[in-house]
Amino acid sequence: MVKKMTIQYNHQSENHTRRSILRNTGFGLGAVACHSLLGEKTTSGETPTRSADLPNFPPKVKRVIFLCMAGGPSHLETFDEKPELAKQDGLAMPASYTAGQPIAQLQGKELKCQGPLTKFGRYGESGQVISDFLPYHQRMADDLCVIRSMVTEQINHDPAHTFLNTGTAISGRPSMGSWVTYGLGSESKELPGFVVLTSVGGRNPQPIASRQWSSGFLPSLYQGVEFNGSGPPVNYVTPPNGVTDSRQRKLIDTIGELNRRRYATTQDPEIETRIATYEMAFRMQKSVPQLADFSDEPQHVLDLYGAKPGDGSYASNCLLARRLAERGVRFIQLYHRGWDHHGGLKQYMKVCCGLTDQPTWALIQDLKQRKMLDETLIVWGGEFGRTPMYQGKGGAGRDHHIKGFSMWIAGGGVKGGYSHGATDELGYHAVEDVVHVRDLHATMLHLLGIDHQRFTHPYQGLDMRLTGVEPAKVIDSILT
C-alpha cells in the first residue's frame, strides 16, 4: 500500500520529479513514462516522489554486495580474540554480565564460560586479528575493516534477519536492497536492481523468508529478485516447452501491437508501461541465461573461486555476484545458511568456513583486478553473534547473542586493514565504539551518496526511513 500525501512540502517542480523517477526505476527502462511500474495505485494517475533528489552528495561506491552469513557466525571464533574467556573456560559466567539480558535457548540453563575453540593470529601489515578458521581472510587482512562492536535488537533468527534487513522486526517494511534500488535505480536495462542469491551446502540450515528481500510498502518493482542456483535462473524466465525464442518474440510483438492500438483509443499511460515491461521481460529472458552461463569464464577464474558451474554453491554465487555487478545491478545479497552453531561448533565452523572463506577472498581479488572493488561496498556478517557461554547441543557450541559481535566491510570509501570497536574482556557486551545495525545502514547509505536522514518515504502518516526514528550515525572513523 503506497500512500501519497496531498500536500507537497518541497519545491520540486513536476518536471523535476518526473525526471528523477525515470532515472530511478528499479530496472533501467529508458525514457518510458511509467507511473505504475512503480506500483502506485494506477487509478490515482500520479507519480510517486522521493523526499530528496539523490544522490545527496558524491557517492563513494556504486553498489553493495552483502554477504549474509545466516544463522549467526561466532565472533569469538572469527575476529574477536578473548584470552580472558579462555582463562575462564568452564567457570560460571559472571551474573553481572547476564542479569536481565535477553537470552534464547539457554533460558533457565546453567551459564558457564566457553573458551575460544580456535587460535588467532595477526595478519597483514595492519596486524588484523583473524582466527585459524579463515585462512583466506588472513590473506586479505589489509582489505578488511573489521567492526568488533556490532549490536542488534532481535535474538531469534527470523526477526533478527528482518531487523538486519529492514531496521525493524515488524513485517511489511522494505529491505535495505529495496531502499537502495528505490533511491538509485538500476544501471542495467535487462536486470533488476536488487538480486538475491542463496547457496546450498553445509548443515541443516535455518529457514530464510522472502520477507528479507521484500520491498514492503515501497513499490514492488524494488523487491529483491531471487536467482536460482539450479534450474531456470529466475522463476518464469523460461518460455513454455515447445515455444522457441522466436515464437516468444513474435507473441510479444503481437501483444505489443494490440496494446498500442488500445492505447490509441484510450490514451491510458498504463498501456505504455505494459508495453515496456513486456520488452524488458523479453530482454531478461535472453540475458539471464547468459548471465548464469559461466562458459565464458576462464578456468583460472573458476579455480580462484572454487566454483563448479551450476552447483548452486556459495562459490558459484560469489562469481555470479561479480557478473551481476559488472552488469550494473545495484544491490546483490548472498545468503549462506548454516552458521547456527548451538553445538558441534568446531566441526561446523570448519564446514561453513570451508565453503565460504576462499570464495569470499576470490570475490575481493577478482573485483580488485577488474578495478571494481573501489566502486563496490562489500559487507560480511550474520544477523547476530554467539554467546561467550557454553551450549552443548552435540558438542561444545554457543547460543544466539545480540549484545556484541563482529562484521566486516570492505571496498570503496572504507579503510582497509582497520579495526573498529571492541567487546568487553569476555566478548559479551560491545563496549567501545558501539555500532548498531542502524549505524551500519546509515554508513552504507552514506557511501552510496545518500543522507539516511533525508531518505524517506511517506507511509501510514510517517516519513519512513531505513534507519527509523531512533538515533543512527554514520561511522565516520572507518571511512577514508
Partner: protein
C-alpha cells in the same frame, strides 16, 4: 517552540507573502490547516508527551494560543517562526527536513486572521446530515450523484459519459463476482431494452455465491488471513474454515456489526454457535513463532502489538500500533491507550503453542475445533432432519428396516460430508494475564503500571456492568452510534466499500483516518454513506447495490481531454477508474475464459503449479510442494495456499500481500516480473491451451469468428477488423512454424494437455491457437477493469 519577540525582525518579506483575508473567505481547519500542522509540527508539538518540545501543543487549541493571536498573524509567534528568515528561529527546523511552502505559510496566516478556529478532527466528529445543496434532476439517480456533481460544478469538472453496456456488464461482473461475464450474459444484457435491465443485473450478481468469494479477498487482506504461521519455520496452521465463514457471511449479507462481533468476541456470545466459534478464529490470525529458544514474554508482547495494529487498522482506521513505545505522534492515542487495548485481548491463549506447537505440518495451535463449512453444516442439518423423519415414520409404522434406498443414500451423503471436517483455530476465553505498560515497548522493563481493558481515553467510554470490560464490550462499542464510536466505524467501512467500486477512497487513506491521513474529499457524502450503513442495519449488499445503481458508478473510465490535469488521482469521481485486476482475479479470469475454472466453494486451500524449488528455503520441516491434481488445480485464486514467507510467486508478482500485516489497499504495479508470469506461468499457459481447444471445439473452421469469440470472452467487446487481422497474422505465423516443427507443437501440447491428441495436424492446430490464446490472455485490456 518558544515565543520569541526577536523573530519579528525577520518578517520583512511579509508584504510579499500576504494577501489580507477578505470577509467572505472561509478556511476549513480540518481540510486545509490540520494536515499542514500535523505533518510539519505535531511530531514535536503534538500528542506525544515524552518527546514534546517547549511544552507546546499545536494540536490543542488552548496550548496553541500561546503562540497564536487570533485575527493577527503578525502578532502570532506561530506565524513569525514559520516565516522567519533566521535558520536558528525557523520552524520547522531546517535539519528536520520539513519545509513549509509559501502557499502553506500564507494559508496559516489567513487562518489566523480569520480567527484561528480549531475543529475536532473530522473522523472523531459525529456524522453530519447535510443534504446535497443542489439536485441534478435529469442526471442524478441517487443523492450520491448530487453530492458528487455539486462538487464537480464548483471545480468546473464535467462528469464522464455513461460507459457502454459491454463495459458496464464487465465492470459490474468483475467488481461484484470477480469473474468476466460469459458471452450469453453479455448478450442478454446488451439486448435487454427493459428499463430494469441494469438493476436486474446488479441483483443477479449480488445473489451469486461468487459475490462472496470476490468480497472475501479484501477482508482476508485486512485481517491478514494466511495458511501458515509466518515466523521462522512458517509451518501450516489450521484456519481454512474461517475463510469459508467469511465467504458465507458475505453471501448471507450478515450485518457488519454481527460479522465483526463474532470475530472479535464470538466465544463470549451467549450460546455461541459453531459460526461464532469459527469466526473467533480472527483473534488467532496473527503471526506466531515456533522457533526453539523464543522468550515467551517477548513473543507475548510481539503478539499483543500485532493484534492492536490489526484491530485498530481494520475497525477504527487508526494506527494505534504507533503507541506501543510512546504516545502517538499525530493522533491523541497514548501509550496507556495502547496497553489498555491490549488488556481486552489478554484472555486469549497464545502461550500453549510455545509448549506444543511443534514443527509438524500442520503445527498445533490449540484451541482448535473440527468443523464443516457453513453450507456443508447447513446440508448436514437438513439431512439429519430428513433422516430423522424417515426413521420416525418407520417407527410409527412399526418397520424396523431402515435400509430403504432413500435412507441409505441420505446417510451416505451425510457421512461423506462429515468426513470433510477440518480443524480450525478458535478463541476460548481464559483468565486474563496481567498487562502492564511497557516503557518504550521494552518487554524486559517491568516497571510500568498495570492497566485494565479500556478504550482510548479521548473517545466515548464503554459503559459495562462487568467488573472488567471484555471483547464483547469492545465489539459493541465499535458499532454503538450513540455511546461508542459507531459513526467512525461506519465511515471506515463506507470508505473501503466505496474504494472497491470507484478505485479510490473518498478519503484516500483507507486505513488511516488520523491526522496524517488524507481527509475525505467529499466529507458530507462520506457522512451520508456512514449514516446509510447504519440505517440499513449495516448491510453490505444494500450498500454496494446502492453504489452500483448511481449514475456516477456507470461513468466511463475514459479520461476526457482536460480532466487529467485538474484531477489526475480521480479524487472527485468525475469518471470511473481503471486498474489492473487484483492477483486472484487475474488467475480467475484466465481460468474462466478458458473454462478450466472450478466453481467449487470453500474447502481446504489448494496448490496450483509453482516453479520447482520455490520452497527450498523453508525448513523445520523441509517442504515438498505437491501441486493439486484434477479440478483442485483450477480453483479460484482466493483458495490458493497462502504461505506467508513464500507466497505463490504468481500472486506475489501481481501485488497480493504476504498477509503478515493488515493491508487495506494493495499497490498495483506493472513490472517485467508480472509480464514473465503472464507469459510463462504453467497455469497461464495451460489456460491458453484450454482456450485454444475451446476455440477449435466451439467454432468450426472460421478463423475470424474464432478470434472474435476468444477476444470477446476476454474483453467483453468485439475486436475491430485491424485487431482481428493482427491476431490472424500471428495465427498464420504459428501455423507455418508448427507445420514445419511438429516436435515443438507436440511438446507444447503434451506438456499442457492432460489428454492425448494423436492426430499430428490437430496437434499443430492446437499449438497454433495456443499462441493466439496466449496473446489474448496477455492483453492489457484482459487484465484491466475499466
Amino acid at each position: 517552540m518558544k515565543p520569541n519577540l526577536a523573530s519579528t525582525a525577520f518578517t520583512f518579506f511579509l508584504g510579499l507573502l500576504m494577501t489580507s483575508a477578505s470577509a467572505d473567505e472561509t478556511i476549513d481547519f480540518n481540510q486545509q490547516i490540520r494536515p499542514i500542522l500535523s505533518n510539519a509540527c505535531f511530531a514535536c508539538h503534538g500528542p506525544d508527551s515524552l518527546n514534546r518540545k517547549a511544552d507546546l501543543r499545536l494540536d490543542d487549541e488552548a496550548s496553541a494560543h500561546q503562540v497564536i493571536t487570533p485575527n493577527r498573524h503578525q502578532n502570532s509567534d506561530l506565524f513569525l517562526r514559520i516565516s522567519s528568515g533566521d535558520p536558528e528561529l525557523l520552524m520547522p527546523p531546517p535539519d528536520s527536513g520539513k519545509i513549509l511552502t509559501d502557499a502553506q505559510i500564507n494559508l496559516i496566516a489567513k487562518w489566523i486572521d480569520l480567527g484561528a478556529q480549531y475543529e475536532t478532527h473530522w473522523s472523531y466528529q459525529k456524522t453530519k446530515q447535510e443534504k446535497p445543496s443542489q439536485h441534478f434532476g435529469n442526471w442524478s439517480k441517487d443523492p450520491i450523484d448530487d453530492y458528487l456533481r455539486t462538487r464537480h460544478k464548483n471545480d468546473s469538472l464535467k462528469p464522464a459519459m455513461e460507459a457502454d453496456r459491454r463495459t458496464l456488464i464487465r465492470r459490474l461482473t468483475l467488481d461484484l463476482t470477480g469473474l468476466p461475464p460469459t458471452l450469453e450474459e453479455i448478450d442478454r444484457f446488451v439486448n435487454d431494452e427493459h428499463p430494469t435491465a441494469y438493476r436486474k443485473l446488479v441483483d443477479r450478481l449480488l445473489a451469486s455465491p461468487a459475490y462472496g468469494e470476490r468480497m472475501a479477498i479484501q477482508w482476508l487482506d485486512l485481517v491478514r488471513y494466511a495458511d501458515t504461521v509466518g515466523y521462522h519455520g512458517d509451518q501450516d496452521h489450521n484456519i481454512s474454515p474461517y475463510r469459508d465463514y467469511v465467504i458465507d457471511s458475505l453471501v448471507q449479507d450478515r450485518p457488519i456489526n454481527q460479522f465483526s462481533t463474532q470475530q472479535i468476541a464470538g466465544d463470549l456470545l451467549p450460546n455461541a454457535s459453531i459460526d461464532d466459534e469459527i469466526a473467533s478464529g480472527y483473534n488467532r490470525l496473527l503471526q506466531t513463532s515456533h522457533e526453539g529458544g523464543v522468550q515467551v514474554d517477548e513473543y507475548l508482547s510481539i503478539y499483543a502489538a500485532d493484534r492492536i495494529r490489526n484491530f485498530s487498522n481494520v475497525w477504527m482506521g487508526a494506527t494505534i500500533g504507533c503507541a506501543q513505545c510512546h504516545d502517538h505522534k499525530y493522533d491523541p492515542y497514548t501509550i496507556k491507550d495502547f496497553y489498555s487495548l491490549v488488556a481486552f485481548f489478554a484472555d486469549i491463549d497464545e502461550e500453549d503453542h510455545f509448549a506444543v506447537g511443534s514443527n509438524s505440518l500442520p503445527t498445533k495451535r490449540p484451541p482448535e475445533i473440527s468443523v464443516l463449512a457453513p453450507w456443508q453444516q447447513a446440508r448436514v442439518d437438513q439431512l439429519n432432519a430428513e433422516i430423522a423423519k424417515i426413521e420416525s415414520n418407520d417407527e410409527e409404522r412399526g418397520i424396523e428396516n431402515k435400509l430403504t434406498e432413500k435412507h441409505l443414500s441420505l446417510t451416505a451423503e451425510r457421512q461423506r460430508l462429515l468426513n470433510q471436517k477440518r480443524l480450525t483455530m478458535v478463541t476460548k476465553t481464559k483468565s486474563a494475564r496481567s498487562i502492564r505498560i511497557l516503557p518504550r515497548g521494552d518487554w524486559l522493563d517491568k516497571s510500568g503500571p498495570l492497566v485494565m481493558p479500556e478504550v482510548p481515553e479521548f473517545l466515548p467510554q464503554i459503559q459495562s456492568d462487568r467488573d472488567r470490560a471484555n471483547r464483547l464490550d469492545l465489539a459493541n462499542w465499535l458499532f454503538d452510534r450513540d455511546d461508542g464510536i459507531g459513526q467512525l466505524t461506519a465511515r471506515v467501512f463506507a470508505n473501503r466499500y466505496w474504494q472497491m467500486m470507484y478505485g479510490q477512497g473518498i478519503s484516500p487513506s483507507l486505513a488511516d483516518f488520523g491526522g496524517q491521513g488524507e481527509p475525505p474529499n467529499h466529507p458530507d457524502l462520506l457522512d451520508h454513506l456512514a449514516n446509510f450503513l447504519n440505517e440499513t442495519q449495516w448491510s453490505t449488499k444494500r450498500f454496494l447495490r446502492r453504489l452500483a445503481l448511481t449514475r456516477s458508478y456507470r461513468q466511463s473510465s475514459h479520461i476526457e481531454t482536460g480532466t487529467v490535469s485538474s484531477d489526475p488521482r480521480n479524487l472527485l469521481f468525475a469518471r470511473q477508474s481503471r486498474y489492473r485486476l487484483p492477483a486472484e482475479l487475474v488467475r480467475d479470469a484466465a481460468l474462466s475464459i478458458s473454462q478450466l475454472i472450478s466453481h467449487e466453494l470453500g474447502g481446504k486451500s489448494v496448490k496450483p503449479h509453482q516453479p520447482t524449488g520455490y520452497y527450498r528455503h523453508l525448513n523445520f520441516p523441509k517442504r515438498v510442494y505437491v501441486p493439486d491434481r484434477g479440478s483442485d488445480q483450477y480453483r479460484r485464486g482466493l483458495y490458493v495456499h497462502w504461505q506467508r514467507q513464500f507466497l505463490h510467486p504468481m500472486l506475489k508478482a501481481m501485488d497480493a500481500p504476504s498477509r503478515e500485516e493488515c493491508v487495506a489497499l494493495r499497490s498495483v504495479s506493472n513490472t517485467p516480473l508480472e509480464a514473465l508470469v503472464m507469459l510463462n506461468d504453467a497455469s497461464m499457459v495451460e489456460a491458453a491451451a484450454a482456450l485454444a481447444s475451446r476455440i477449435i471445439r466451439e467454432y468450426l473452421d472460421d478463423d475470424k469468428q474464432r478470434i472474435q469469440f476468444a477476444f470477446e470472452l476476454a474483453t467483453a467487446r468485439r475486436a475491430d477488423s485491424k485487431e482481428v487481422t493482427i491476431l490472424e497474422e500471428l495465427l498464420h505465423d504459428q501455423r507455418d512454424h508448427y507445420a514445419k516443427h511438429a516436435d515443438e507443437a507436440a511438446t507444447l501440447v503434451a506438456a499442457i494437455q492432460g489428454d492425448s491428441v494423436s492426430n499430428q495436424k490437430q496437434i499443430a492446430e492446437i499449438a497454433s491457437w495456443t499462441g493466439v490464446a496466449r496473446a489474448i490472455l496477455n492483453l492489457h485490456e484482459t487484465v484491466t477493469r475499466n
